[in-house]
């Protein structure tokens, strides 16, 4: 096996982890990884050295953005489903908190935060993945963290405040 393919293969577990955190769904996550691998292997000739891992994260991040776009062509302001989801209580609630908090983030913020804290990419690498300046990555991180904190501190979206 060529070293390119070996490098791609080595990255698969991390790609699956990132995709799982992005989609919160094992099947969808692996679909994303598969699409990422297909594109990467097809584009081997386009890869001119550098960090393969960042390149794979870039592909996956873009594919995920396409996926989300195809799911929601218009921005939707509120989540009706969460309105009466009973799972704020119960034994799993604590464990799910971080998952729910992540779900509330804007996609770009979620991408940035997960690439940094879960995948350990540097700010520079994330800036490359997202094709934005480092300053933008940092403000995405800051906003993501502030929003997660607000959520964990008990500030629910407006709908939840209705008792």
């Amino acid at each position: 096996m060529s070293s390119f393919r070996q490098d791609v293969e080595t990255a698969i577990p991390a790609l699956r982890r990132y995709a799982r955190a992005l989609t919160r769904n094992a099947e969808t996550a692996d679909d994303l990884v598969q699409d990422t691998l297909v594109r990467a292997l097809r584009s081997e000739h386009l890869f001119h050295g550098g960090e393969i891992r960042s390149w794979l994260f870039t592909i996956l991040t873009n594919l995920n953005r396409n996926r989300l776009r195809s799911l929601a062509r218009r921005p939707i302001a509120k989540s009706l489903a969460d309105e009466d989801a009973p799972d704020l209580a119960g034994p799993e609630a604590g464990q799910r908190d971080i998952e729910r908090a992540l779900a509330l983030l804007v996609d770009e913020q979620r991408h940035a935060l997960l690439l940094v804290v879960l995948e350990g990419l540097s700010y520079r690498e994330v800036a490359e993945v997202q094709a934005v300046p480092i300053g933008t990555v940092m403000s995405r991180l800051a906003r993501a963290r502030a929003q997660i904190k607000a959520y964990l501190d008990g500030e629910r979206p407006a709908l939840r405040r209705v008792k």
């Binding site: 955190a21 799911l71 009706l80």
Partner: protein, 281 residues
């Protein structure tokens, strides 16, 4: 090493947490945190968030990689073989029941136990919607212009079905496809607006009592579901409640061959349909 004593910025606090802080600022930032407990708490909170994320998802990387993701399989199949319609429908079915997707939201208000047939039906319809609206090149199997579309789907699902006319909602019928369903084949009609918004109508046999409209939504999309004459119908689209209900009502009227009610009664008509669910408990 020189120590830079300029005031600490919020960016530097993030950089500290993420291991991106330049060495010559470490000391200044640490001193700052010692003197500013609020900032120290903030940093501790961010670290806790990061730990929670790593704890929650870290184990995924230790899982055995599924065969379909092995380099050999991806090379061999080019990621295409598994995309056959049957496989896609299977994926859709799994998606519908997986945590974190739209699982269970159809079941809201119902018991927390296994979904009933009606709920599963709604989940199947939504999974199909979700899967195929994302298809750019092949959203449908048979185009609207092909004469055999309706006879074919009618024959396969076992009832005379027509594709409702939804032009007044700026929705044009693209065509349809056949899918495996819980109680037999299901028909899926796909509509598209000028701006690319997609709405689907899913129909299949469903052995359940007649119901009025049920509306379900999450942040990405919504569905209106009803059962009539041993068949279940689900209209899925963007989560705009009034619009989707109007589309569903129009579809219902056309499918049931009913004359639309006079405009003045529009609200009442919907209310009657909606209240049927309530009365049934």
């Amino acid at each position: 090493m020189t120590v830079d004593n300029t005031p600490v910025t919020p960016d530097e606090l993030h950089a500290l947490v993420d291991g991106e802080l330049p060495a010559d600022r470490q000391q200044a930032v640490n001193e700052w945190l010692a003197a500013h407990p609020e900032d120290a708490a903030l940093v501790a909170g961010w670290r806790a968030q990061a730990d929670a994320i790593r704890t929650h998802y870290g184990a995924v990387a230790d899982e055995k990689v599924p065969d379909r993701l092995s380099i050999e399989n991806v090379m061999r199949n080019g990621g295409r073989g598994w995309r056959s319609i049957a496989a896609a429908a299977a994926v859709a079915a799994v998606m519908a029941f997986s945590v974190g997707g739209i699982a269970g939201w159809m079941a809201r208000g119902a018991s927390a136990s296994a979904p009933t047939d009606v709920e599963s039906f709604g989940n199947d319809a939504l999974a199909a919607h979700r899967l195929y609206i994302g298809e750019v090149r092949h959203p449908i199997e048979v185009g609207a212009t092909e004469a055999h579309l309706l006879p074919w789907l009618s024959r396969r699902i076992g009832t005379q079905i027509r594709a409702p006319e939804l032009e007044k909602f700026d929705l044009k019928l693209l065509g349809g496809r056949l899918l495996p369903g819980m109680h037999g084949p299901a028909a899926l009609f796909m509509y598209e607006s000028a701006t690319g918004e997609r709405v689907t109508l899913y129909c299949s046999k469903l052995n359940a009592e007649r119901t009025g409209f049920r509306y379900n939504a999450n942040e990405k999309f919504a569905a209106v579901q009803w059962i009539e004459g041993g068949y279940g119908y689900v209209v899925s689209g963007p989560a705009e409640k009034m619009r989707l209900k109007q589309i569903a009502r129009s579809s219902y009227e056309q499918l049931e061959n009913r004359a639309p009610p006079p405009p003045a009664n529009k609200a009442t008509f919907i209310d009657q349909l909606m209240s049927r669910v309530d009365r049934k408990g």
